[in-house]
Amino acid sequence: MIEGEPEKITGRFDRSNSPGLMPPSSVVWILALALMVLIVYVSRGLVLLLLVSVTLAYFLNPLVKIAEGAMIKRKVAVAVIYLGIGVGFLVTAYFVFPRLRAEVNTLSGNLPFFSQRFDEAVDAIQSEIVTNYPAADGWFAPREARYEKLNNFIEEQVADLPGLVSHLASVVVAGVLIPFFSYFFLRDSRRIVKFVLDRLPASHIETSVAVWCEIDRTVGRYLRGLAIEGIMVGVSAALGLTILGINYPLLLGVVTGLANVVPYLGPIIGGSAAVLVTLVQFKSLSVVAQVVVLYLCLKLLDVVAIQPLVVGRGNNLHPVLLIASIIVGESALGIVGMIIAVPTITMLQKIASLLLERRRYFFAPAPDSRLNNNVSAQTYVC
């Protein structure tokens, strides 16, 4: 089309420009999605880094938007937020880290005796059960077999340590790169969106903006909700464990909060860690039961109060689809894959519904008013 020459606006019933079964936009979107999936799979190392950076940017974006609404330059707002985070990190390090470090030090000091203590605890619990229910005597494996299994498990974990240390370097690099990337994502996100929108076909802009908004809303809400939920669950767990007198409450609270971001498995991981510590510390089933009840209450509190409050409306995904997406996410990107599986599948679902809706309207039958020219002059409302 010549620049400046108006293109002919055709109604939705003129399909001369879109032969085939699907509108061109759908094909383009499907191809773009397929290409995106391929790129993600091929370069998943970098994608992982970028994903975490975008996640961090998402957490901070509401603050930047508040500043933008107050007519403050975006780059100034981002710089101030980063400064605030730096100060907050230092303050946290000053007040919380010494206690957390003390707990980690105590735990690592006790680790050499851990298998022995764990064994003693299991013995104590076995005899407690057998005393109360003599019929249960035959259920347990002999002590030697159990001891061997435990030792093998610990040896396997220790054998993996050199690999863990080599990963430490990439963790440090990631620790530097993630804030760096997220700074630029945060600062330039508006410009990036405008750049993309300006290059999209104008006739598809509404659907494109709709898709972008759904992505932004779904991912932003989910990730921010997840972070707040993790903090609230972690703090509640730390408080509960302190009240019950369990060792390392702060450390276990951090583990519970972090593990909580993994759907379904997270609470089990956090609870198992607390149960293990309780087992070694008290060697009694009654305290273990208290910890289990605490974690069940926490899960209930999370589902009933925290999730509706911070994550908002549910994602309306079928449980089977949800679990399948978590499994696929885990096999593709590990733990991060499990975390991003739910927002990704929700996002894809919304995009598909938007595209299908567009397609439905495209093929919709002509309304009578469309054929009646007398009505057309009444108003230009659109």
């Binding site: 293109e7 003129d14 938007k65 006739s203 659109c382």
Partner: protein, 185 residues
């Protein structure tokens, strides 16, 4: 004096220009500057080349558009050719019904010159309204006034109280529509 210079340094002047434009949009009349600021961050911005279609009649409406610069032609397809309904200049808005539902557009919109448009997607608008009751009431009241204007105009045309040309050129009851820019073929 130094204080003002400091404020000047951190103020986003581009955003301020956008704020001035939406401040004068009748749909957002009565909103405080703070509310307008919250609303403004929800907008997307897009440049349109002359002749580029913004949306087509019959497509599901999902967004409200505000003309920042340039001009936009609103028209409907007829059996033969098309009928121009209005030409909107800077500060005008269109597609407001998309904020209510996603029914098909009644008309098409096309940039008649290089134009810069602000786009507000319905879900973003709904999100904002969920947390901002005062803003929601005010905007809904303005939207109702707009709809009442449409109904009255349609009614008066139907009753034949006004002549056809008078009805179409009188745009006083159509918010966001500077009367001098309205034309009809």
């Amino acid at each position: 004096m130094a204080k003002w210079r400091w404020l000047e340094q951190i103020t986003d002047h581009e955003q301020l220009v956008r704020l001035k434009v939406i401040e004068n949009v009748p749909l957002f009349a009565g909103l405080s500057r703070r509310q307008l600021g919250k609303l403004l961050v929800k907008f997307f911005e897009k440049e349109y080349r002359p002749g580029e279609t913004i949306f087509t009649e019959g497509e599901p409406g999902k967004a409200l558009f505000i003309v920042l610069t340039g001009s936009v032609l609103i028209c409907r397809a007829l059996h033969e050719g098309e009928e121009n309904l209005a030409t909107l200049g800077a500060g005008s808005y269109f597609g407001e019904l998309a904020l209510i539902d996603d029914q098909p557009r009644f008309a098409s919109a096309r940039a008649t010159e290089a134009s810069l448009l602000l786009i507000l997607y319905r879900s973003d608008f709904e999100d904002l309204m969920e947390g901002q009751r005062t803003l929601a009431i005010q905007v809904m009241a303005n939207l109702l006034k707009t709809l009442a204007g449409y109904v009255r105009r349609a009614q008066s045309q139907r009753n034949g109280r006004n002549s056809g040309s008078a009805a179409l050129t009188s745009t006083a009851d159509k918010p966001g529509m500077p009367s001098e820019t309205v034309s009809r073929d």
